[in-house]
């Protein structure tokens, strides 16, 4: 290859920069079983921790007797709240401004709550001994219904007795956490009062769980000689974990090193700080030995993180012609025993106020009441940016309900209410400034791609055939146009525990023209090592293959808030581009010096600076890199590196149009997805292969949630879905093939125009599947039925509509 004869296009292709479907660099080790996940870590003298958990959802802990457990050979320690209390570690602060028991302090508030922590030489002994810890409980009345909880005399949080002021304002009842209001209540109610048409419905988004294939875990290793704690773990936000550990343990932050090794999927499950981490740290400090804790699947589903559990009552007002004039929503949010929801501090209900969706709605009002119940705490954004999934499901159901009321086609109803391309940046009634969008183009493209008219005609024929007794199968066409809000976020309004939600990237160019970049984020399968190198490749003209990417080690990476809420590309991706752009001016000066021209007389050309008007006179970035380390250039320091801490000016607003075609058997309740079309607009596309993979995975998680996955409790507060037998995860057999498509509306404020995509398919997928079920039964009178739409519930819909004769 000759640098002088290659065209700029060829040189750009060699970089494997943005837009290239570059194969993933991570896969070489993963496909050989050479990943390094937390449970693969084995340190000398490592002990193993296991929890004793409460079988009751609400009970007083009368006594804990450790004697039998301690007598088991190989058991090193058994910790209870009493042991942690002198250290002030029996409770810990939550991300939501509440506090949470690390180990049961006098009572338990949910089934599976951590009561004692056994430390032993290996996991078998730890499990044996945990069985032998004798806990005496006195059962208390259980509250699993948030509406009941708000009326009940039973006080769940006795520690808060008498506190009428919570972290987010006044508390109305002893089981009430907060009320969060957005928008204009009076104006919205006035519009509802005068509207031609008002559709009203209760939309429930059931409780579920992110359930990554790898559960949560950690290895804490306190070096008593150096006084340094190393904490390996499945952390989606390693830097934030370091700060939290420092704040609650009193260890100086520089003496804590947090390492997130390879992570086997996160989806929000691995954002929070869990009792297992605290107990492992304490156990390592106490024993002076490394301590590993890895939860099993049942513990994972019962105790670390849940998602959703939002009861959303909605009213939507419109003219007879279908123009929406106002939206009202009251949400009852079941937060479980402690408010440990992972949201930016000022947003106790996350970004639920994106619930006006893709529509130009002049007035709106949202109120959310958070409630304590006897369920697990956590409230994470499961493949979601802080309650955006709930918001999208709510509005996309309300649109369908309104379409029924107006007797209108739901695709048309959406079209006449979309925010128009020329209205961007668009100020929403609930306070967001949507950065960019072109909804009509995306919608038309989607409807055309699936032959929407043809599908409706087929459906009409199917209904006739059904009525004539020729078939027992219905056809549902599920429509969704979603708008997300991701990339939290501007430090002025987004922080977690006071830490601004910026992110970071540091790039160092080595003398021979390769580089290392370190970020404040952490990949859990998104392929950061592949895609962020592509951004750098395009920005500074070094091949992506020559760029190493490192994340997850707080001793080496710059501070960042981590990976969740689709924030890596919008925030850390922007930091990456900005760091690269900081390197360029110095590279330009070096090139000009080497070419003996004025700085302004050279210009950037893919992978080099060339003399303006004389492209044959140039210095490649590789040459410039070497010069940065071996030339004494007047006025310039040696070296070539930069770091950027990027505080985004706004969120990004990816959007998409999803259409699901589903066959439903009214006699068995079985469903089959015949077609699924997903159009995503995530702005500039960095790696189309990875985007497509994210969409496939996200829609599959949506399929699970909509069609069967739930964390269900009985009235005693027992978790009914604690194993993968009961908790639905689709296999290859019931998962359909997806057709992906895209439009590109770059974000105007992001350095490379990218918006993030990891969560869009989950946000858009759930309403698409659910709407398909509803649409199939719409001609027979169904208006609203709660998810998950498993076979039994679908059968019940058909039965309730009198379709079983």
């Amino acid at each position: 290859m000759n640098d002088q004869t290659m065209t700029p296009e060829e040189r750009a292709a060699n970089l494997k920069g943005m837009g290239c479907a570059r194969k993933r660099v991570e896969d070489v080790r993963f496909t050989q079983g050479k990943g390094n996940y937390v449970d693969d870590i084995k340190l000398d003298g490592m002990l193993f921790g296991a929890f004793v958990r409460s079988p009751y959802a609400h009970a007083r802990v009368v006594s804990v007797n450790k004697d039998a457990a301690l007598a088991v050979p190989g058991v090193v320690a058994v910790l209870t709240a009493e042991d942690l209390a002198p250290l002030g570690l029996h409770w810990m602060p939550t991300l939501a401004g509440d506090k949470q028991m690390v180990l049961a302090d006098g009572k338990v508030l949910f089934q599976g709550q951590e009561v004692a922590y056994v430390v032993a030489e290996n996991r078998y002994i730890a499990a044996d001994a945990a069985e032998l810890v004798d806990v005496e409980y006195e059962e208390l009345p259980v509250l699993t219904d948030p509406f009941e909880a708000l009326k009940s005399d039973v006080v769940l949080r006795e520690d808060l007795a008498g506190q009428t002021e919570g972290a987010h304002g006044p508390r109305k009842h002893h089981n009430h956490i907060f009320t969060w209001e957005q928008g204009d209540k009076d104006a919205t109610e006035a519009v509802l009062g005068e509207a031609d048409v008002v559709a009203e419905e209760m939309v429930y988004y059931h409780r579920t769980h992110p359930c990554p294939l790898e559960t949560c875990g950690c290895v804490a290793s306190m070096d008593k000689v150096t006084g340094k704690l190393t904490l390996y773990g499945t952390f989606q936000a390693p830097h934030a974990i370091r700060t939290v550990v420092s704040l609650i343990s009193g260890l100086a932050e520089h003496n804590i090193r947090v390492i997130s090794p390879d992570i086997g999927g996160g989806f929000g499950n691995k954002v929070g700080a869990y009792a297992g981490y605290v107990c492992s740290v304490v156990a390592s400090i106490v024993t002076g030995q490394p301590v590993k804790w890895v939860e099993n699947r049942m513990e994972n589903l019962m105790s670390t993180a849940f998602a959703r559990d939002y009861w959303m009552r909605g009213k939507i007002a419109a003219t007879k012609a279908g123009k929406i004039t106002g939206l009202w929503c009251h949400t009852t949010a079941d937060h479980g025993g402690f408010d440990a929801c992972a949201d930016p501090t000022k947003f106790p209900a996350g970004f639920m106020n994106i619930c006006t969706g893709s529509y130009d709605i002049p007035v709106a009002y949202l109120a959310v009441d958070g409630v304590y119940t006897n369920k697990a705490p956590g409230g994470v954004a499961y493949r979601c940016s802080f309650r955006v999934t709930e918001a999208a499901y709510f509005i996309e159901r309300m649109i369908e309900v309104l379409a029924i009321k107006l007797n209108m086609d739901a695709a048309e109803l959406r079209r006449i209410n979309f925010i128009k391309a020329e209205q961007f940046p668009y100020q929403s009634a609930l306070g967001w400034e949507y950065d960019s969008g072109d909804y009509h183009t995306a919608w038309d493209k989607a409807l055309k791609a699936v032959d929407y008219e043809g599908l409706r005609a087929e459906q009409a024929q199917r209904i006739e055939d059904f009525k004539a007794g020729k078939t027992r199968k219905l056809l549902g066409i599920g429509l969704t146009h979603f708008t997300e809000i991701v990339g939290a976020g501007p430090v002025k309004n987004c922080d977690i525990l006071g830490l601004g939600m910026f992110d970071s990237c540091e790039i160092r160019i080595h003398p021979t023209g390769s580089a290392i970049a370190r970020l404040g984020t952490i990949s859990q399968g998104q392929g950061h090592a592949t895609t962020f190198a592509q951004i750098i490749a395009s920005e500074i003209g070094l091949p992506a293959d020559d760029i190493t990417l490192e994340e997850g080690d707080t001793d080496t990476a710059p501070y960042g808030l981590g990976t969740y809420g689709s924030r890596s590309t919008p925030v850390a991706g922007a930091a990456t581009a900005m760091a690269a752009r900081k390197i360029r001016p110095k590279a330009q000066m070096i090139a000009a010096y080497l070419l003996e021209v004025h700085d302004n007389d050279v210009e950037w050309d893919v992978d080099r600076f060339a003399v303006k008007g004389a492209p044959e006179r140039f210095k490649t970035m590789k040459e410039i890199a070497f010069a940065a380390y071996n030339q004494a250039i007047p006025g310039l320091e040696p070296g070539l590196e930069a770091v950027s801490y990027y505080d985004p000016p706004n969120m990004t607003y990816p959007f998409g149009a999803y259409i699901c075609v589903m066959e439903i058997d009214v006699d068995t309740g079985e469903w089959e997805v015949r077609q699924f079309y997903a159009l995503d607009d995530c702005g500039t596309r960095i790696n189309p292969m990875i985007i497509e993979g994210q969409v496939h995975g996200g829609v599959t998680e949506a399929l699970a949630i909509a069609m069967g996955q739930e964390i269900a409790y009985d009235e005693m507060g027992n978790v009914k879905t604690g194993t993968l037998m009961d908790f639905f995860i689709p296999t290859a057999w019931e998962t359909p093939n997806y057709t992906t498509d895209h439009t590109v509306t770059p974000s105007p404020h992001h350095p490379i125009g990218a918006k993030g995509v990891g969560e869009s398919p989950n946000v858009g997928g759930v309403p698409a599947f659910s709407n398909a079920v509803h649409d199939a039964f719409r001609p027979f009178g169904l208006v609203q039925s709660h998810m998950p739409h498993d076979h039994w519930r679908i059968w019940k819909i058909a039965n309730g509509l009198g379709m079983h004769g």
Binding site: R24, K42, M725
Partner: protein, 164 residues
């Protein structure tokens, strides 16, 4: 607890060790032999992350005692890499077709796919989807896994024809 002596062939190598009668194969592989390719996703036979090949059958090693498989011939994902250290066909095709994201299910997937293609060298998409239904993936939505396995079948066939 008293320990018993176990002898296995793992990825072509003779190994032996001491294990309690209750020691699960997955733990013996991961903790005693430090073969950490097979993962633990559920310990209840549902997810398939722990899948290994035992005497020509796909087995979930999280619900198998090592004592049950004494003297057996076991292959894990580590054993599917070519002798020269390059990626085996399935490993290469998973990479080529983006059949993995977090990589946690991947060792089990590839090990299961390896056996599936021995059982059925010409699988249809349906055969693959059915044959892989014991292995869960939370990241990929399976579409690219199916593609990767199908491409592997083609490549293995081509290799076989070339060799004949």
């Amino acid at each position: 607890m008293s320990k018993m002596h176990v002898k296995l062939t793992v990825n072509g190598k003779q190994v032996e060790g001491l294990a309690e009668p209750r020691t699960l194969l997955i733990h013996f592989l991961r903790e005693d032999l430090k073969i950490t390719g097979p993962h633990i996703g559920c310990e209840t036979s549902h997810c398939g992350a722990c899948t290994v090949d035992i005497d020509g059958k796909s087995v979930k090693s999280c619900t198998t005692f090592v004592a049950q498989v004494n003297e057996a011939d076991i292959t894990t994902v580590e054993g599917l890499t070519n002798d020269d250290g390059s990626l085996g066909v399935l490993q290469e095709m998973f990479r080529e077709h983006h059949g993995l994201q977090c990589g946690f299910c991947t060792p089990g997937m590839i090990t299961r796919a390896h056996r599936l293609l021995q059982e059925n060298p010409n699988p249809t998409e349906e055969d693959i989807r059915f044959g892989m239904a014991g292995n869960l993936c939370r990241c990929t939505g399976y579409q690219n896994i199916v593609k990767a396995i199908s491409a592997s079948a083609d490549m293995l066939k081509a290799q076989k024809e070339a060799a004949e």
